[in-house]
Amino acid sequence: MAEADEASKPLFAGLSDVSISEDIPVEGEITVPVGSPSHDDEYSTLDEPVKETILRDLKAVGKKFGHVMYPKKSTTLLRDWDLWGPLLLCVTLALMLQGGSADSKEDGGPQFAEVFVIIWFGSVIITLNSKLLGGTISFFQSLCVLGYCILPLTVAMIVCRLVLLGGTGTASFIVRFIVVVASFGWSTFASTAFLADSQSPNRKALVVYPVFLFYFVISWMILTFSPSHSDGATDTGP
């Protein structure tokens, strides 16, 4: 390629001396064959296969999961908020937590609707509290952060379920306790890393405490989950 350029240079060297005479009409159409890109993209997102659409949203959700698992002060969660992730996590957690005890219908564990309502209603109350105290974060951004930071607790629930498959003795309780406490600390730390900057320093503790209470209640529900038994229960612990 370089040799061809060097060979063509003496050929085209005289082009700079060429001038176009004025009586040669210069006319024609200059059309750009490529249309406006956004126009094509709109049609293409409608025309693209469903798998691509779903995968794009899933990738966005997955990226935010990564941000929660390794919390550092970044604004990605806040900028591109979405509520798909919180919905996914909330439904998973509520499905796994429901029932819990088949002995009596009255005093068992929380039902699906109760867990769902607690998570969403609790998030709304905490968001309102933060805004009333003068926070600069928007309503849905705060819901997004609180919902995504339930991820460690959902992972802990899955681990607890697996541990409970092995038995319900004291050893399994200790393992579950450690897992739940660790994920509770992780959730609280992750959400305060995102939420703390939006508040004036005089009121940071006032905003962090309800978040702490919220994740504490969810951790308590996870820790006290006892699987339903079909036979008469003879275990001595939760």
């Binding site: 005093d107 068992g108 805004k131 105290l133 006032l206 209470l213 006290t224 003879t234 939760p238």
Partner: protein, 300 residues
């Protein structure tokens, strides 16, 4: 800028008026506005944050000018900082004779943050401690199957929230009615009474945690200590409001306040915390829980 001294003095007046119009600033009563206006102008910003400066409350009537359906109206009830909330909690637990909780700590800035989150924490503290305590009490019994008892959270929430809202409403209505008959020096707004009641419930949170210990006399002593502390704060707060009334009505009001406060504590303890069974657990406990499981199976 001729006559610099006069201009500065005028600016200081304007600044004071501007500050009075701004509902977020707390102003102080300045004895001599003539001396050192520039220094005081600079230090006003510092003084508005100082909780120890218990000066006049010029803005008492100028708050809450927004309509009740706007967001700003409710933002006025959350205008507290961390140290203010902590001070109010401390004041509700340590009663100082002669120091009124409302005058000393609330000072025309009643907040809803404290009552809301103290009540919520108390609901969960009672429900969770009751669950743990029941588990510990029934630990040795083979028939006992641990249940999270999630329904009790809703019951606890109903009881505590209605106490924290209806009793102040009744007390405020009663005080307003007596105020129309007898000229009282001190009258509290509804929000101030809600604030006092909310903060006075704080002592029950460590009490609920101490109730986990399944020893009966420990629980009763905890109730007594908690009642003495927060009850005395309530008495010191409401005594000035009723002491000008007839003797019997004043005493009846104060004793009603204390009895309701005690009733809440004893009721929560009785409902959420099972009494530790001192008799032989093998006989009566197993029969009782055996009956329960049999009836539960039958209803299925």
């Amino acid at each position: 800028m001729a006559a610099v001294g006069d201009l500065q003095f005028q600016e200081f007046d304007d600044a004071e008026n501007l500050l009075a119009a701004n509902r977020d600033a707390t102003t102080i009563s300045i004895g001599d506005p003539n001396e050192k206006p520039t220094n005081q102008r600079r230090s006003l910003g510092n003084w508005s944050r100082n909780a120890d400066s218990d000066k006049t409350e010029l803005l008492a009537g100028q708050r809450k000018s927004a309509a009740f359906w706007t967001f700003e109206y409710y933002q006025a009830f959350f205008d507290v900082d961390t140290y203010q909330v902590l001070d109010r909690i401390k004041g509700s637990v340590l009663p100082l004779p002669g120091k009124n909780f409302v005058r000393l700590y609330i000072r025309s800035n009643p907040d809803l943050y404290g009552p809301l989150w103290i009540c919520t924490t108390l609901v969960f503290a009672i429900a969770i401690s009751g669950n743990i305590s029941n588990f510990l009490v029934h630990l040795g019994q083979p028939q006992y199957h641990y249940m999270p008892e999630f329904r009790k959270v809703t019951i606890a929430a109903t009881a505590i929230y209605s106490y924290a809202w209806l009793v102040p409403l009744a007390l405020w209505g009663f005080l307003m009615w007596r105020n129309s008959k007898v000229m009282n020096i001190v009258s509290y707004s509804f929000l101030e009474i809600v604030c006092v009641y909310g903060y006075s419930l704080f002592i029950y949170i460590p009490a609920a945690i101490l109730w986990i210990i399944p020893i009966e006399w420990v629980r009763w002593i905890t109730i007594l200590v908690a009642m003495c502390l927060s009850g005395s704060v309530l008495v010191i707060t409401f005594w000035p409001a009723v002491r000008d009334d007839h003797r019997r009505i004043a005493i009846a009001t104060i004793s009603a306040v204390l009895i309701l406060h005690a009733l809440l504590a004893v009721g929560c303890k009785a409902y959420f915390f099972d009494a530790p069974q001192i008799e032989v657990p093998g006989l009566s406990g197993s029969i009782a829980s055996g009956n329960r499981t049999v009836t539960a199976v039958k209803t299925h």
